[in-house]
């Protein structure tokens, strides 16, 4: 065995470039695998860490102020299963002005001394101090309006007057949930400040957070509270599991991409290792014969090649594990950043075992076939011929190339693909993986651009939104009908709906010039106004197990209203609330819910509209209660980061493919050096040798593009639709411009050919005499 080990070391050291390239490939794959697994294993860890550190509440109860009293609060705190409570918390809704925008916020009183339950995480600045007129802005408000500590924001007091308070810090509340967009942004003040702004305590909203003995017993606890008190005492509640789900969604998305690319990279490693070791065996056929002649057994020959791969595999997977571990905070960045808590996943022994074990398994599988092939070599033939007998039949395409009078360099290059079909197959497949990665990146970018240019595809059919607070609906309509640049508008009112089974969601009740808006209906048709027809988001259909054509019965805005049944006549792309929304005609809602009045007006603007003129017409002065929001950016900046990450991952795959082309070409040249020597002896020029090698690689690149482009499109479409289904969005059409496909052909051929350039040059420069003499 020592002899085998000596030879393993010698082989690795004598081919430094190839050994390093295999090592780089294994390291890259192990890194991606580590990143994917670390993300999967720790997807909720940053949230869990922050949740425990802040001793966050498991359930937050929002009480109906008219039905609850202080004794009820005490009774809730004393219920079995309730471990701790935040105590009663007061809040009031207030309109604040941040820059040009006016926004309704929940002004929440928090204790100035650190509370035991549901502490706030101060991300920037400092905490509130007693008896000081100052505020902490919620992270959610900062995300939208980019606040800075020290900035002053205007708050509307109870009497309608405005006061400006300084933002002394930014805070994260572990129980603030974006889900269903129903929670307003939070602004935190001391109780004294709240009292100064809203002196009438009877108008304050009441809420309370509870920590439970069993964190999963939220539903049971809420049911017990409703049973103990009055069923309508709790208006709504926030479940910590929903908050967590929203918080980790971004990281789950990262896992999907990393997982897909990790799988690709592992597959590419299999191909690189199998083709490289296969080529090494072929190029060392004479040496194998000599080794067997001097006493190496077949198992020892197997170990010789397997051992080389395992040594490189062990080093590569360890390096990849360490690199992946170092980079592992990146995919969890979205959660960690929102919590402002740097999170580094721990180096879990099971992660190390999985990564190293998987990579060694992959390397063993990939090299075993080639190693056995070497072990089976016939001693006499190996020593005498120095190569395996080539395939008896040449490629039909070569015959065709000859008939087409193509240059013999091209013919020989094409023939080389079919002389060693397995090697060509794995090299071609590796290139195909690279093409799939690039197509994925391009198609994703293209699709996002398409959706960005045409927001109607995302369900955003309007150009601008105007919201009202105090102004009447009639005044709004008048203003919009006479507004410059407004071609049409419809009004919208969001109402809460509840199914007989207790599932709650929001309904968009709309009315106006609906025919002027490019509503996209993926299935069925748009509803007829003033009827009991509705269209639903895919997420709602999936959630409630409904289909287009089904009826849905709900009660609106509380159980006191009688139930209403809508027929779902279509499915539309709904971009918010995980697609769990229904769109109906407003007049049908108004008949049941008297207070259902539109508060948003969605505008279609003429192409040459003047935003300044429109703002002036709508009287959007600081004192005005109208807000104009233009739809300009519907795709967040995060998408750019995602696109960049995908292109980086695609680049890695293409890099691995390049390594494979290089290794395969170099080893193929070593294997057929004698043939190159003969060809040069009969008059092949160095340029023709390089052309021949380049044709082999280039043709594989061409085949890879032909194969990889449709697979890449299918893969992108599949993955996007899986993600869209996760968002409850419905189907996504993936597009890729023809010019990209046309450009992809020369680019892939160029990449592939460039991988063969150095080996081709090396072969072209070898002395004919030295090659033929060594035979």
């Amino acid at each position: 065995m020592e002899a085998v080990w000596q030879k393993i070391k010698a082989d690795i050291i004598s081919r430094p470039l190839i050994s390093v390239l295999i090592l780089v490939t294994i390291t890259t794959s192990a890194t991606l695998l580590t990143l994917a697994l670390a993300t999967l294993m720790n997807v909720s860890a940053p949230y869990d860490k922050a949740f425990e550190e802040l001793n966050a509440a498991h359930v937050w109860l929002y009480f109906d102020r008219d039905r609850v009293g202080p004794r009820d609060i005490t009774r809730v705190e004393a219920l079995p299963g309730v471990v701790e409570s935040t105590g009663l918390r007061y809040s009031a809704m207030s309109r604040v002005r941040v820059g040009d925008a006016q926004v309704w916020v929940s002004l929440r009183a928090v204790p100035t001394e650190t509370p035991s339950v549901n502490r706030l995480l101060i991300q920037e600045g400092r905490d509130l101090e007693p008896y000081r007129a100052e505020l902490l802005a919620g992270k959610d408000l900062d995300d939208i309006y980019r606040l800075t500590v020290g900035e002053r924001i205007g708050i509307t007091r109870e009497d309608g007057k405005k006061v400006e308070l300084p933002v002394i810090g930014l805070a994260y509340n572990p129980m603030w949930d974006t889900y269903r967009s129903s929670q307003p942004p939070y602004v935190y003040v001391s109780e004294e400040t709240l009292r100064e702004l809203f002196p009438d305590g009877s108008t304050w909203d009441w809420s309370m957070g509870l920590r439970l003995a069993d964190p999963d017993a939220v539903d049971e606890t809420v049911a017990l509270i409703e049973e103990t008190l009055h069923s309508d005492v709790v208006e709504s509640h926030t479940d910590w599991r929903d908050v967590k789900e929203s918080a980790v969604f971004g990281a789950q998305l990262n896992f999907v991409f990393l997982g897909a690319f990790g799988l690709f990279a592992v597959l590419a490693t299999v191909l690189v290792v199998s083709s490289t070791i296969g080529s090494i065996v072929l190029s060392q056929f004479r040496q194998i014969g000599i080794l067997k002649a001097i006493g190496f057994t077949s198992p020892q020959v197997v170990w010789l090649y397997l051992g080389q791969c395992l040594v490189l595999g062990l080093i590569g997977s360890t390096l990849g594990l360490l690199l992946g571990f170092t980079l592992s905070p990146l995919p969890l960045r979205s959660i960690a950043a929102s919590l402002a808590t740097p999170y580094h996943p721990p180096l879990d022994p099971s992660l190390a075992i999985m990564v190293i074990g998987a990579m060694l398994g992959v390397v063993t599988l990939a090299s075993l076939g080639a190693a056995y092939r070497g072990a089976r070599a016939n001693i006499i033939q190996s020593i005498a011929v120095g190569a395996e007998r080539p395939r008896e039949k040449s490629f039909q395409g070569t015959e065709l190339a000859t008939r087409l009078s193509l240059s013999p360099t091209i013919t020989l290059g094409l023939n080389e693909i079919f002389v060693r079909p397995f090697r060509s197959l794995v090299t071609g497949f590796n290139l195909t993986l690279g093409v799939i990665g690039i197509v994925f990146g391009l198609a994703l970018g293209e699709t996002l651009d398409t959706y960005k240019e045409n927001p109607a595809l995302l369900g955003i059919v309007y150009d601008a939104v105007v919201t009202r607070e105090e102004a009447s609906d009639g005044k709004m309509r008048y203003l919009l009908e006479t507004a410059p640049g407004v071609e049409g508008f419809y009004s919208e009112c969001l109402v809460e709906a509840e199914t007989p089974a207790g599932q709650t969601f929001q309904v968009r009740a709309v009315e106006g010039d609906l025919e002027k808006f490019p509503f996209k209906v993926d299935q069925g048709r748009f509803f007829r106004p003033n009827t009991y027809e509705a269209i639903a988001g895919q997420g709602l259909l999936d959630w409630l197990g409904l289909e287009v054509g089904d009826d849905i019965a709900v009660t609106l805005e509380g159980k006191e209203n009688r139930p209403i049944t809508w027929r779902i006549v279509g499915q539309y792309p709904e971009a918010v609330n995980a697609g769990q929304m229904l769109m109906v005609s407003l007049p049908t809602v108004s008949r049941l819910v008297k207070q259902a009045r539109p508060d948003s007006y969605l505008l279609k603007l003429s192409p040459d509209y003047d935003s300044a003129g429109l703002k002036q017409h709508l009287d959007a002065r600081p004192s005005s209660d109208l807000n104009l929001i233009l739809v300009e950016e519907v795709i967040p900046d995060d998408v750019l980061y995602l696109e960049l990450a995908i292109f980086t991952l695609s680049g890695l795959l293409m890099g691995i493919a390049l390594v494979n082309v290089f290794n395969s070409s170099l080893l193929a040249m070593q294997e057929k050096l004698r043939t190159v020597g003969i060809l040069k002896a009969v008059g092949m020029t160095p340029a023709q040798v390089m052309t021949m090698v380049g044709v082999t690689a280039g043709f594989l690149g061409l085949l890879a593009t032909i194969l990889g482009t449709p697979i890449g499109m299918l893969f992108t479409s599949g993955l996007m639709n899986v993600l869209a289904a996760g968002y409850g969005f419905g189907r996504v059409s993936v597009t890729l411009r023809g010019i990209y496909i046309v450009c992809l052909v020369p680019v892939t051929i160029l990449i592939s050919t460039s991988g063969s350039l150095i080996p081709g040059r090396w072969a072209a420069k070898r002395s004919v005499v030295s090659v033929l003499r060594s035979e």
Binding site: A387, S394, P408, A681, T685, Q688, V769, E775
Partner: protein
């Protein structure tokens, strides 16, 4: 008559680690068109090296080689490759055929490398050569399916496809049985009779006897010459070189 090949004070040294081996120590000779010259010598005498230098496969350490109008010392790699394919036909001891090409494809390869557009003429010529050398029946076979003698005939056909100025044969019978060797020598003689200039490297007196003139190389230097024809005399002279 002007010399077709003119070799002047040709030297070639090989460096192996710190050891320098002088394969040729100043050889000068001339060949005229239609000559059939055999070079004899013992192993390591430098005869194959001389052949490689004349064929433009290698570069001398010093001295000059001219073949026709071509000063080989002044040519780069590409020019040398074009020179070889157009003016030189090689026949090697181990045949050196391209294994994955058929017999016909092997024969046609040097002609195709010249980018000759007239494929029909190339095919016609290769058919004629295969017919002439008695291997037409094997034209669609691969080299490994042929005997050693048949493979060497394919190599000769390949060497002749471009009507070379010079046919260089390096131990063409060295890897063949006596019958096959005899047949190959007969073919070379036929070629010579048709006006082909041949430079043959061999240590077999019977092969050398086919040449018009035999040159003896010893220790990298020319050590005399004699007329071909008599194998015994050639063998005796070779023995004297030891």
């Amino acid at each position: 008559m002007d010399a077709l090949v003119e070799i002047t004070d040709l030297k070639k040294a090989y460096q192996t680690g710190e050891v320098t081996f002088e394969a040729l120590k100043g050889v000068s000779l001339k060949l005229t068109t239609g000559d059939f010259v055999a070079i004899m010598g013992h192993s390591g005498s430098g005869k194959s090296t001389l052949l490689h230098l004349v064929g433009g496969l290698d570069r001398p350490t010093s001295g000059a080689v001219r073949v026709g109008e071509h000063e080989l010392n002044e040519m780069n790699e590409t020019a040398l490759a074009k020179f070889r394919r157009a003016h030189v036909g090689f026949v090697f001891q181990f045949f050196n055929l391209v294994e994955n090409l058929t017999v016909q494809a092997n024969v046609e390869l040097p002609a195709l490398l010249m980018n000759k557009k007239d494929r029909k003429t190339i095919r016609k010529h290769s058919d004629e050569l295969l017919q002439r050398l008695g291997i037409a029946v094997h034209s669609h076979k691969h080299p490994w399916e042929l005997s050693g003698g048949e493979q060497q005939r394919v190599a000769i056909a390949r060497a002749l496809i471009n009507h070379p100025t010079l046919l260089l044969a390096d131990e063409p019978t060295g890897n063949l049985d006596s019958t096959s060797g005899e047949e190959v020598l007969n073919i070379l003689s036929e070629c010579h009779e048709q006006g082909q200039t041949i430079l043959l490297v061999t240590h077999d007196p019977l092969a050398a006897a086919r040449a018009e003139r035999v040159l003896f190389l010893h220790d990298g230097r020319l050590a005399g010459s004699m007329a071909g024809g008599d194998a015994k005399s050639i063998a005796h002279r070779l023995t004297e070189l030891k």
